[in-house]
């Protein structure tokens, strides 16, 4: 399963969902397919689910809203341990990702 255009690529491998490139989609409707892909990963896997954002250079505010919704979704599923891997290399990540931890304190946020 993979979603891509010229600027980004999102794909799932086992329990891991990778986000790569620059995501600047217009709004919730545009982000819906990505939400489905990631939510499916949350639903289909027991135990650990990893969102790997280390290759995601930029995410606009609608995208951050998507991550918040996914975090809230994970919070509803007690059997899922969500891990979000990020990097301090990209400023938006250190600015926005800690909010997810606030939404869901059990979230394993790995900011390298």
């Amino acid at each position: 399963m993979e979603i891509r255009d010229e600027n980004f690529r999102i794909w799932a491998e086992n329990e891991c969902v990778y986000f790569d490139g620059v995501l600047r989609l217009a709004g919730p409707d545009a982000y819906a397919p990505i939400y489905s892909l990631a939510a499916a990963a949350l639903h289909e896997n027991n135990g650990r689910v990893i969102f790997d954002l280390t290759g995601l250079e930029f995410l606009n505010s609608s995208g951050i809203n998507l991550l918040a919704k996914l975090t809230i979704e994970a919070r509803k599923q007690s059997d899922v341990q969500l891990v979000i891997r990020g990097t301090a290399q990209y400023p938006w990540q250190s600015k926005s990702l800690p909010n997810l931890k606030k939404l869901f304190p059990q979230l394993d946020l790995q900011l390298a």
């Binding site: 217009a26 505010s61 609608s62 400023p91 938006w92």
Partner: protein, 797 residues
């Protein structure tokens, strides 16, 4: 033609499909050229090699034969020269022998004076004519009368007053009469001699010669004055003296032999060219010269031998003295080697013959005279204006004592044999011609064989190429027919090879083309109908899209309107007496969700800044709700910034759930009551530049949570107090500023923003805002602006 198999033949093209449009560009022509060329080159190489070998063989054979024949020819001519030289030597040896015999007899007489006198008186008795001389008044000499076997002359200076020979002279005359006994028989036998004679010693040089001739008369005629000088001095100057020196031991013989020879000269008696052979006689005690015995031979005799030389057609011989004077040669030979005769009539002594090689009109011969040598040499002679190669061999004869006026020296005659090379090599040339003929014949046969092979190969290639290329020609022809839109054409499959396969494939393609062409109209109709349907579908979709666009356009317009309507008025910005506020906002192409506000109630100012996720009508509505709730809470007198945010979030969360607006927003407030400034809520960093230029950055992450995500954010909200002094400035911004990109995709960033704020902090809030925005726009350049850009600058008055 072969069986067509399953292929339906509508038109079967024969293999002779015309390819007339490109006779030399056709496949067949190329095939013929390649194969024919290969064969031609092969034939030329093998033929050339054969010809070359034959030529070489012929050359080698000719060379070998030539070498052998030349060797044989040279051996022959060398042998011939040797044998001729032997003949000449033999002739001369015989003369020498005859002279020797005569000399021996005369010497015997001298050695036995008594016997000499006896024999002399005996002959006088029997043949008085031999010893009785009578004076000739005209010549002033005495000579015996004709009729005797020999003539004897006594010169004037040998006679006494009464014209009779002196007694000692008379005695010599008597003694010499023995010649009458010996000479006639010697003249008859042996080699042919002109005459034999005795000459007395210098004191009494009588001259007795057999056979009898009018010798004194002849001398008078040819040699005037001879009677006044001593015979020896007149005729043979130096000769007598040489002999004398041999006798006394003062001089030695140049060649160890008594016989002395003269060079050819004109005989005084016979007028012929002769050579004289002398054998000196000695006194009994051998201390002095006592006369000489002699014999003359005419040059004819030598010439006969030499002229008898007959080598090949026109080869000839010649006999030359060492000085190059040719003494014997045939007339033709004389002409060939360019000799010029010049008789010397001057001077004393016998008259010589001057016909020297040195004077030859042929330079090669003149050169030969200067450097005679021996062995075979090749000369180029001019013959009737044409240069002809000749072969010349020179053979030196045994040396002799030769008298020439004044002295006696060693001399060796040379025999030369001259043959035109073309004659001596005639057989060689004939052999070479035969070899050449044979070679030419072989070459001709070889060329004929090559031509014949070429003809056969060409015919075979033509025949085979017709078969091989026939199929391809047929294919090409059929393809042209198809091009001319004759889709009924089919090719006969004549072979089972690749051409056959191509033909079958072609036929299948032709069938398909034919099928498609015939069904084209129907296909077009079907496709047209499909396209019509699609077109209708597209226009329906188009109409839908238009409606959608209109709706979206309207929505955006409404959203933009709401955003602008919500923003504070300029009068509201300048309503504070302590704070100078400048605001800048630029909406992106597709309106973003930036929000800022300045709310005033009872002297308390609440300055808000936020960013709604996404854009469009929903963002606008959410913004409007935020503004309304904030205004309501402000009006309701909620002074606690924490409670303010918790209540605002709670109200909005419920409304978001109801309206199903799938959005949230970051939102921060600055509360200012005239003394202190409190920051609450989570948004971008707040930048403070103190009056002295010191920079402070306040992180707001821990002061709240995005609004609308959680129903209760009380555990996350906090405040932070900032003491604000005069001329301190605060800069608020949305991420549209820090995340603006330049052409290289690099972000403007918080650092640049801080730098600009510090740089401009002493200026008015408006100038600071304008300066930062100018810098930002210059940074972005012509690159796309992705998001709304909002900047608020507060300055403490």
């Amino acid at each position: 033609m072969a069986d067509l198999g399953g292929i339906r033949a509508e038109t079967v093209l024969m293999t002779n499909t015309p390819t007339s449009s490109r006779p030399w560009g056709s496949f067949r022509a190329k095939f013929i050229l390649v194969v024919g060329g290969a064969v031609l080159i092969d034939l030329l190489i093998s033929g050339g090699l054969a010809l070359w070998n034959v030529q070489r063989l012929s050359r080698d054979a000719a060379e070998e034969v030539g070498h052998g024949l030349e060797q044989a020819s040279q051996d022959y001519i060398r042998t011939y020269a040797n044998s001729t030289a032997a003949q000449v030597s033999l002739l001369l040896g015989q003369v020498n022998n005859d002279v020797g015999v005569l000399a021996d007899v005369l010497q015997e007489q001298i050695d036995s004076p008594q016997r000499q006198a006896d024999i002399g008186s005996a002959i006088s008795g029997t043949s008085p004519d031999s010893v009785r001389l009578s004076f000739n008044p005209a010549g002033k000499w005495a000579q015996n009368a004709p009729g005797a076997p020999s003539v004897v002359s006594a010169w004037g200076y040998l006679l006494d007053k009464d014209h009779s020979p002196r007694p000692d002279v008379q005695a010599e005359i008597q003694a010499s009469s023995i010649l009458d006994l010996v000479a006639p028989s010697l003249l008859k036998s042996g080699s042919s001699k002109l005459q034999m004679y005795f000459i007395g010693p210098k004191e009494r040089p009588i001259f007795r010669t057999a056979p009898y001739t009018d010798q004194a008369q002849t001398f008078d005629r040819l040699y005037p004055g001879h009677n006044d000088a001593n015979f020896w001095d007149f005729f043979f100057p130096g000769l007598y003296e040489s002999w004398q020196s041999w006798a006394t031991g003062a001089g030695s013989q140049p060649v160890p032999d008594d016989i002395t020879q003269t060079a050819p000269y004109t005989d005084a008696i016979t007028g012929k060219q002769i050579v004289s052979f002398f054998h000196p006689l000695w006194s009994a005690d051998r201390k002095t010269v006592a006369g000489t015995a002699g014999a003359d031979i005419t040059l004819d005799q030598l010439a006969e031998t030499v002229e008898n030389v007959k080598v090949a057609e026109s080869g000839f011989g010649f006999l030359a003295m060492s000085d190059g004077n040719v003494i014997a040669i045939s007339k033709d030979g004389e002409k060939t080697i360019g000799l010029r005769s010049a008789s010397d009539t001057k001077g004393t002594g016998v008259t010589g013959l001057e016909r020297s090689l040195k004077g030859s009109s042929q330079p090669a011969i003149a050169e030969l005279a200067n450097n005679p040598g021996t062995g075979i040499r090749h000369l180029l002679l001019d013959q009737n204006g044409e240069t002809v190669p000749f072969m010349v061999i020179m053979k030196e004869l045994p040396p002799v004592n030769l008298w020439q006026p004044g002295l006696v020296r060693k001399d060796a005659m040379s025999l030369g044999i001259v043959v035109p090379e073309r004659e001596i090599y005639a057989s060689l040339f004939a052999a070479q011609a035969k070899i050449s003929d044979a070679t030419n014949r072989i070459v001709l046969y070889q060329i004929l064989a090559i031509l014949l092979s070429l003809t056969i190969v060409t015919m075979a290639v033509l025949a085979v190429s017709k078969r091989i290329t026939g199929g391809i020609s047929a294919l090409a022809g059929a393809a042209r027919r198809i091009q001319a839109q004759d889709y009924s054409v089919r090719v006969a499959v004549a072979s089972r090879d690749e051409v056959g396969e191509a033909s079958e494939a072609f036929n299948r393609m032709a069938e398909q083309i034919s099928y498609h062409t015939e069904n084209l109209e129907q296909l077009v109709e079907e496709r047209t109908a499909e396209i019509e349907d699609a077109k209708e579908e597209i226009s329906i979709l188009n109409a839908q899209l238009e409606r959608e666009n209109r709706r979206l356009g309207t929505e955006l317009a409404v959203a933009e309107r709401i955003q602008m309507m919500v923003l504070p008025l300029a009068s509201e910005l300048s309503s504070s007496k302590d704070l100078e506020i400048a605001a800048y906002m630029s909406a992106a192409d597709e309106v973003g969700g930036d929000y800022y506000d300045v709310l005033e109630a009872d002297g308390r100012f609440k300055i808000g800044i936020g960013d709604v996720t996404g854009h469009g009508l929903e963002s606008g509505v959410l913004m409007l709700m935020v503004q309304s709730v904030a205004r309501a809470l402000q009006e309701a007198g909620t002074t606690d910034p924490v409670k303010f945010l918790i209540d605002l979030n709670s109200a909005l969360f419920k409304n978001i759930v109801r309206t199903r607006i799938d959005k949230h927003l970051t939102l921060a407030f600055l509360d200012y009551d005239g003394n202190d400034m409190f920051i609450s809520g989570q948004h971008e960093e707040v930048i403070i530049v103190r009056a002295n230029g010191a920079l402070e950055r306040i992180e707001t992450m821990d002061l709240g949570l995005p609004i609308g995500l959680e129903s209760d954010i009380s555990s996350f909200v906090n405040t932070r107090k900032i003491t604000l002094e005069k001329d301190d400035i605060i800069v608020l911004h949305t991420d549209g500023v820090t995340e603006a990109e330049n052409a290289e995709g690099e972000l403007f960033g918080i650092e640049r923003l801080c730098e600009e704020a510090v740089r401009l902090h002493e200026q008015s809030a408006d100038h600071i805002a304008t300066g930062i925005i100018d810098k930002l726009m210059a940074y972005i350049g012509s690159h796309k602006i992705h998001d709304d850009i909002t900047l608020l600058v507060l300055r403490h008055r």
